[in-house]
């Protein structure tokens, strides 16, 4: 009854506000898991929506699949340049001035520099390298799953999702394995704003990021003086496109790769457990036909949408959905909304593991900034579910998930579960 009452209240809240007062950037909407009601209203009534006042200043919200695709594939007009504010609604995450520090990296660059730096690291997720990683991932997944208690409640987030993604990152960087939880912390800190529960002040964040910079500088110094290896740091230290980059640019790329490989897969690992618990008929389908893992994995990534948005800055006036976006305006593509757009995706609010075209979702973005690690992420999730099905009959969610207070990372702080043998 309580749950029902609160749902109704929220629907009223999202429906009753005047359109010009709607601000979907409020992180607490995501923490309360009510952002979907707001986006549903915007898609219906004002799909290209201008918010004049927010904690991040004025910004446009792009909420439909088609319009998001139009912005994402028009990098000439919609810039990712960190100097203009970068790729997040909060300018301070990538740029100094408002409290944060400059974190230049290739996701916050336009061509041609973007292309050169991205190409320096993309071989690590090329098909041949993924094939090499598969055995290692499967062995580690197996070891983590074998260490879990059966029939006893525990928190899936730290025990499985964080542990597995952190191990993967340590492997990609050839990072000292015993220190790997530092990577988790730096990932969290990078995208945190003061008051998020992760950091208390910009100063604290900057200090922790300096520790990260120093640690990685040491690794760089080791690798640059040895033969080129197949880990990310060695690739950056030896590639002509990146070997002379500034220390700032190096830190920027390091935290980009940490966040890109961590928050995303971690929350899809948790989201999948929740989605299958809430949709027992889909779980039954999966048990009857484990080959559906192939189409379930992209569906989990769509359903979860672990990164809620990406931001661009208009560098010329542009028409979109009958509105004029002015040069200099902040433009936010809400992937989480486009992935629930019923003009592009059939029954988008439902979790359906055997969709015909499951990879047609926005979670990886499209265009030149499309997630470089998308196939690695899919492989990690596929292996996880294959190994889960070999070991357990069911993962029961035993309490409410705690969601992260962020308009960027759409994820979970905890998810209590019980395994059934």
């Amino acid at each position: 009854m309580t749950a029902l009452a609160s749902t109704t209240a929220v629907a009223t809240e999202a429906e009753s506000l005047p359109l010009d007062r709607i601000d979907v950037s409020r992180a607490e909407l995501f923490e309360r898991n009510v952002e979907g009601d707001y986006f549903a209203r915007l898609r219906r009534e004002d799909p290209v929506h201008y918010c004049a006042e927010s904690a991040y200043g004025p910004y446009w919200s792009i909420t439909t699949y088609k319009d998001i695709m139009a912005v994402d594939t028009n990098h000439q007009v919609f810039s990712s340049d960190a100097g203009l504010g970068g790729i997040l609604i909060d300018d301070n995450i990538q740029k100094s001035g408002g409290g944060g520090i400059d974190l230049p990296n290739f996701i916050g660059m336009d061509p041609p520099q973007h292309d050169e730096q991205r190409k320096a690291v993309s071989p690590i997720v090329a098909p041949a390298n993924l094939a090499k990683l598969e055995g290692t991932i499967r062995e580690r997944v197996g070891r983590v799953l074998d260490g879990l208690p059966v029939g006893k409640e525990f928190d899936w987030v730290p025990e499985v999702s964080i542990e597995l993604t952190t191990q993967m990152l340590a492997t990609l960087f050839d990072f000292p394995f015993e220190d790997r939880r530092k990577l988790t912390r730096w990932s969290d800190v990078t995208v945190a704003e003061p008051g998020s529960g992760i950091i208390d002040s910009w100063e604290q964040r900057n200090n922790e990021l300096m520790d990260c910079a120093n640690y990685f500088q040491r690794l760089w110094n080791e690798r640059v003086n040895t033969d080129p290896g197949s880990d990310l740091i060695s690739m950056l230290a030896h590639s002509p496109a990146t070997r002379n980059m500034t220390a700032e640019n190096y830190l920027g790329n390091v935290v980009l790769l940490i966040v890109g490989g961590n928050d995303t897969t971690r929350n899809s690992m948790t989201g999948g457990v929740l989605a299958l618990h809430q949709n027992p008929a889909e779980f039954a389908k999966l048990k009857a036909n484990p080959a559906l893992i192939d189409s379930m994995v992209p569906e989990i990534i769509r359903w979860q949408t672990p990164l809620a948005h990406m931001r661009r800055t208009a560098v010329a006036d542009a028409e979109l959905g009958g509105k004029t976006i002015k040069k200099g305006d902040k433009v936010v593509m809400w992937y989480v909304s486009g992935n629930r757009d019923d003009t592009a995706i059939d029954r988008p609010d439902e979790f359906i593991i055997d969709r015909e075209r499951p990879r047609q979702h926005l979670s990886f973005g499209f265009g030149i900034h499309r997630c470089v690690g998308n196939r690695l992420a899919e492989m990690q999730l596929k292996i996880l579910w294959e190994e889960i099905l070999k070991r357990f009959s069911r993962i029961e969610v035993t309490g409410e998930p705690v969601r992260v207070r962020s308009n960027f990372v759409r994820g979970y702080a905890s998810l209590p579960v019980k395994l059934h043998g």
Partner: protein, 107 residues
């Protein structure tokens, strides 16, 4: 109805009769040709329908176009002179007999 041949990296061939007007990506996906993903649905925004046009056909299909197609091919694996995104090859009767080779994997 143009007849298209897709050749996997391992040599396996798939023959498809496609209605004129659709793209080489759509023809492959509709006929279950493996190795062409087409994640973005056909707007040159993901580069998961990368193919190599048989050199004999390159004059007819033309090379990769400036703009999104070339921009996205920048990030595909093992890109060559003959590389195209299949979603940007619209099929018509002049392409009857077209041969497209597939890369090892889409990336």
């Amino acid at each position: 109805m143009p007849h298209i041949k897709y050749v996997e990296a391992n040599g396996t061939e798939y023959a498809v009769d496609a209605p004129a007007g659709i793209t080489a990506m759509e023809a492959a996906v509709k006929n279950g040709v493996p190795g062409i993903d087409g994640d973005c649905g056909g707007v040159a925004a993901c580069a998961t329908c990368h193919v190599y046009v048989d050199p004999a056909w390159l004059a007819k299909t033309g090379p990769a176009a400036d703009g999104m197609e070339k921009d996205m091919l920048e990030f595909a694996e093992d890109v060559r002179e003959t590389s195209r995104l299949a979603c940007q090859i619209k099929l018509d009767d002049t392409l009857d007999g077209l041969v497209l080779k597939l890369p090892e994997k889409q990336h």
